[in-house]
Amino acid sequence: MKNRQNVTIKGTKDGLVLHLDDSCSYEELKKELDQKLSANTQTQDERNLISVKVEIGNRYLTEAQQEELKELIRQKKNLVVDNIEANVITKEEANRLKAETEVVTVSRIIRSGQVLEVPGDLLLIGDVNPGGTVIAGGNIFIMGTLKGVAHAGYLGNDQAVIAASSMKPSQLRISDCIERTPESVQSVEKREMECAYIDDNRQIIIDRLQALIQLRPDLTRIEGGH
């Protein structure tokens, strides 16, 4: 037990990996890390920073502790921490991750002045009236008429799409792209079964719903299928 090393350094084809044992105490770990990195001072080109991946196994580190380790590593050598990888996350983070990938179904009308926000995908059974807003971390699917504002992928997901049975938005937003609907489109035409997405030129395009089958194959969630 005494001889077991809490800190091991490995070179892999992807770069340097620092493995930190998860069964010792955090203080012990810090001490050993400090020693190991100091001992190992072979002169290297000081300006040439090497990025390392830090693996911490089943240990949970708080943000502050992660910062502390990064700082420690950064001070000792010309190493920069590329990322810290743990096998564990907090329940809170797990819930957030789950929420971000979940489809939330809402059955109601989003009226003027109302804002509906979901972390993941939104399936709205109802309309978004003018002056109403729906916001989603992921995709937005509206079974009714979209007459207000819809913002999909609001945390910066360019792949997000907006689909509506009737597409008469006052404004569409996907990620950080904004599209005001041209006056001409708004009332006259029947805009049925359409979708909006960001194309290669980072423009919001409105197309037939079926275009998504080619453009966003990842929308399919079910495994298998015939």
Partner: protein
């Protein structure tokens, strides 16, 4: 135990006061005991439309601040045999003189003695609105077929739907002009009802007679022959639970001549 219905709209001037006066009158005509409550503190109107202005002694704020008993402040409408009363708004103080809790208490008390409490709400969504809806069991939203009025109605409906103790609001579309709807210069009825998607409880034509009647302090519902009057009476009957199909514009039967004109497509 009576039922309290607030008449609200968001936008000003769309006909809340007119609707309150006429629904109250029409309910009283049906033999119900009705109390009209004007919550538009500082801008009271309902007393004028009802022709009861001269008889006001105390007002809503006097009641709330316990300067008088409720029955002392109620103005009796002599045209009805003890069926119709008005609790007027105060004219001299501002809206913050009353709190929602006090309104709730007041309306609850009135519900003991009346079949229907019709509450005329001020425009807007602030304090006055909050006071007006505080004691209400149901709401009627008034709109006109104009984009801005419908937008505000939508906003109000959104707020009303959050009131857990209240039933889903019902809609009155007021001041409809048939020719403008037909020509597409006004939103048509389907557009309005689809957009707001709440139950439509009545439609009222834009009718000069309404304005004349209000100016004389005689709500139009008292006049049996105008189409607006029939529209208001039908709303009252629907409130009472009768199922009366919506007639396009609730038109009065003007006899054979009109029918013939219609037959030949003459307007």
């Amino acid at each position: 135990m009576g039922e309290a219905i607030v008449i609200t709209s968001g936008k000003g001037g769309v006909g809340k006061t007119t609707t309150s006066a006429n629904i109250g009158t029409a309910l009283a005509l049906q033999g119900k005991k009705v109390c009209l409550v004007d919550t538009d503190i500082g801008l009271r109107n309902l007393d004028v439309v009802m022709g009861l202005e001269n008889r006001i002694i105390y007002d809503l704020v006097d009641v709330v601040e316990k300067r008088c008993k409720i029955h002392q402040a109620l103005v009796k409408d002599k045209r009805f045999d003890g069926l119709l009363y008005l609790l007027p708004a105060a004219q001299t103080v501002d809206k913050s003189a009353v709190q929602p809790e006090q309104m709730k208490e007041l309306i609850t008390e009135l519900k003991q003695d009346y079949d229907y409490i019709i509450i005329d709400c001020p425009a807007g969504i602030e304090q006055g609105y909050k006071n007006a809806i505080a004691g209400a069991d149901k709401a009627i939203v008034v709109t006109t077929p104009e984009v801005s009025a419908v937008r505000d109605a939508d906003r109000i409906i959104g707020l009303l739907e959050k009131e857990k103790s209240m039933e889903s609001p019902r809609l009155v579309v007021n001041r409809i002009r048939n020719h403008m709807m037909k020509s597409g210069d006004m939103l048509d009825l389907d557009e309005v009802t689809q957009h707001l998607s709440i139950e439509l409880i009545g439609i009222v034509a834009d009718d000069e007679e309404v304005i004349k009647a209000s100016n004389h302090g005689e709500p139009i519902a008292l006049n049996p022959n105008s189409k607006a009057s029939i529209a208001y009476r039908n709303i009252a009957r629907r409130i009472l639970g009768e199922s009366i199909p919506l007639q396009p514009l609730e038109e009065a039967n003007k006899g054979v001549f009109t029918k013939l004109k219609k037959f030949f497509g003459v307007r």
